[in-house]
Subunit: 332 residues, 2 copies
């Protein structure tokens, strides 16, 4: 295992030290492994929390800041955050208007967010709504999931719903918007290589030199099937076909993300996006906004995922609203 | 070789298709492999061009946009752009106030930028000034370089000088500022693994599982020495020691970049930055601004580099000025 780490058991704690040093606009609670905005949002606005296992950076800690999350709870690598972390974060960010939990559909995450919400309600009367993302069309159930896994749509949802919360919308509206976005998006990923969990010390799975894993999960969970290595144009087809078959994306504008899984360089991601864009055009899908880069990763896994989201004027306006986080940053 | 590509000989051309599709704010000249702002800057302002071999993305094409470059010339992977590309770009971006060429110190780049500048002057009377960056303290001469190599400072320079050009400063001032920045910064990099050039089909160099290359170049050129794999804390020391020995960084604020080389995930880069920040504090270096991420890469190489730049109030204000490019984007 070749990694820029010290003790394999201490990677998350030490990465949080670096995040704090690099980002004075964030505040890190090291004891609870929580990342907050240094300056909380105004009283009366709905707050957003997400979190999950680490190893997917910039998701979620890199999406804390103006226009996106108020806090992120970091579990150990590929391990759910605890109910106590979520309780602590929920109480801390509530500005009197309630808190939205954004949860990727993995059994441990769903359970622990639920417990955190119940504890926060019981202890402090904080109103909590939750949205569980489940956009991955690859498999119906998986190693750590009943039902579809939550992946790339989570990034787009955090951006769009973050903007809505910043506008001052109430908790019910923010939660309804979040659920609508989850229902409007689909994703599919693939791996050329496995990532390596530091504490395991070896790749999560073996993948022969001439094969790739289609439909891989962001923890290296098995996907649909292993197939022979193929050119980018065929990979794009294999990723998009199940996405486009699952939902009609030809009825209005879309937002598309071509996401790298951590070990794939940007030049390959752009090349892949070129293939994806061609296929979407051929399929009658109009792309209004695009993200290409590493947004929801799986440690050093080489590979990519595609997310397509049905949008409308409202969603595009919220997408375009200012955002200022380490992982996504732009002005209107 | 496992890569998201089609024909190994066609990677650059196809990546440019994806860049164009993903970024309506850019314009791509496919015949000349040039990336421009879709909306040129105002007449009377100095224009900035950079370029070099591809495989270092987002450098340079990802730094075209408001507040940074006006155009980037993309050579084939690890291959200098041609004089004709630089001639074409220089003529195209000149808004009557002249053009600054930002050139990393590699023999082919320096020669071809020089020829491009001469041709542009002869053909159209465009005023061209050049700055050659040479911030890499690792080695004095290298495979493709007489003198030190130009690396990470190039990113910081493009940002700061881009802001100065946007303010309307004249060509002599912009060029002087660029040279001052180059003289004020130092870098050093290291590799855990080699990248793989698609047309070569195998890693550029062999590096045993228990060794790393200190002082590696961004094309995989040999560095100072190979040493046993070490914890991140020791790697940070080995990177910073020669940087801090080469220039005094304790006289004022600094800008620090912890840069990934393409195959290293963000969680490791943040962990490394935590180590770097601790050492800088111990050495009496005050860090005023930080960048952590993949900015000047070497295909899928795993590893990182550190850049430290002496700044002052003027440089910090220019650093903070708005920038809107695919690779760097923020508002004041």
């Amino acid at each position: 295992m070749k990694k820029l780490i010290n003790d394999p058991e201490n990677v998350l704690a030490e990465a949080l030290v670096g995040i704090e040093a690099a980002h004075p606009e964030l505040r890190v609670d090291h004891a609870n492994r929580l990342i907050y905005r240094a300056t909380p949002k105004a009283m009366g606005k709905v707050a957003l929390i997400s979190g999950g296992g680490s190893g997917h950076e910039p998701l979620h800690g890199g999406f804390v800041g103006l226009g996106m999350l108020d806090a992120a709870a970091a579990g150990e690598i590929f391990t759910s955050p605890t109910p106590d972390q979520l309780l602590e974060a929920t109480k801390a960010v509530d500005q009197g208007a309630g808190v939205l939990h954004i949860v990727k559909n993995y059994t441990g995450d769903v359970m622990n967010f639920e417990m955190g919400a119940e504890l926060a309600a019981a202890e402090s009367g904080v109103l909590v709504e939750s949205v569980v993302t489940n956009d991955d069309v690859a498999v119906e159930d998986s190693t750590w999931t009943a039902g579809r896994r939550g992946v790339g749509v989570t990034v787009l949802l955090e951006k769009i719903v973050g903007a809505a919360a910043e506008e001052g919308r109430d908790l019910a509206s923010v939660a309804a918007l979040a659920r609508r976005i989850n229902e409007s998006g689909r994703s599919m990923g693939m791996a050329l290589t496995s990532g390596t969990v530091p504490s395991a010390g070896k790749p999560t799975f073996d993948l022969p030199d001439d094969q790739m894993e289609m439909g891989v999960g962001i923890h290296g969970e098995p996907g649909r099937h292993r197939v022979p290595l193929a050119p980018a144009s065929e990979i794009a087809e294999q990723l998009l076909e199940p996405v486009l078959a699952d939902l009609d994306f030809t009825t209005g504008p879309t937002i598309v993300m071509l996401n790298g899984l951590g070990g794939t360089p940007l030049i390959e991601l752009y090349l892949m996006y070129g293939e994806v864009a061609k296929l979407l055009e051929k399929a009658g899908v109009r792309v209004a906004r695009t993200l290409v880069g590493n947004y929801i990763t799986s440690l050093d896994m080489a590979g990519c995922s595609v997310t397509v989201l049905n949008a409308d004027d409202e969603l595009l306006a919220l997408w375009d609203a200012p955002v200022n986080t380490p992982g996504l940053r732009w002005r209107a």
